[in-house]
Symmetry: C2
Subunit: 120 residues, 2 copies
DNA sequence: AAAACAATTGAACATTTGTTCATCTATGCG
DNA sequence: CGCATAGATGAACAAATGTTCAATTGTTTT
């Protein structure tokens, strides 16, 4: 062991100051988990299509299913994932459920990702 | 079959005009796939931490591993996922590889998601 | 040249995920 | 009422995912 290198878990620090500095700023574990869960909720082609569709129109489960060529059951399952992460909201009208994006961040998030993808 | 309802795949359209309208605007399949893959790449706690860390400092694999308390192998695998989606880039300096965020969209994307999560 | 080290990679394994199928609730209509 | 429809949900199964372990590449140092 010598100089600024120090063994921990069999791995040596290369720049300990930078590591400690980032460590201090690191978000807490629950926030990290929520971020990961939110991104994961968006990380499926079916759900991406749903998000895009809802950014254009408020739609019922039935019409989303038609749009995607998927079953109502599959769509309902996916909507629950999106609902859990507060990415979409819905209003009930009789036996219908009309879904839309939960807030403006979702569209921004989606558009920013689209910009990144289009530059690839 | 009657009025505006039409049976396709055993599902009826509720508002055919809205569905057709969204259908026209829908992004093509490759774009949808890229969007989903990009979000999925961000959808893991370890990778979220890596992205956050790299938004603060340029770091080598070793220091990232220390920061996260993970093995270099695990980090290297995750970095490949992020690299594949052009979320991070790296420069080689001798036997070290220094990673950083690929472009400004990544930080924006991350911050926008953080704002959403903090409002939950 | 040999040893040490940063990083990458492939195989293997347990865990998670998305869809299908069947079932269930609740609302609307004849 | 009786039945069809919109939607939600649980179980089940195949497919994808993240980590560990072992081995490899390429660079630096002695």
């Amino acid at each position: 062991m010598k100089k600024s290198k120090k063994e921990i878990c069999e791995i040596a620090y290369v720049d300990r100051k930078k590591v400690v500095s980032v460590e201090k700023k690191m978000k807490d574990e629950p926030t990290i988990q929520l971020l990961a869960e939110t991104f994961r909720a968006l990380g499926d082609p079916t759900r991406v299509k749903i998000i895009f569709a809802l950014s254009e129109e408020e739609l019922c489960v039935c019409d989303i299913a038609n749009l995607l060529g998927a079953t109502k059951s599959a769509v309902s399952h996916q909507l629950r994932v999106l609902r859990n992460m507060k990415l979409v909201k819905y209003r009930k009208d009789g036996k219908m459920a009309y879904y839309s994006l939960d807030d403006v961040h979702i569209k921004n998030l989606f558009d920013e990702c689209l910009r990144h993808v289009e530059e690839m």
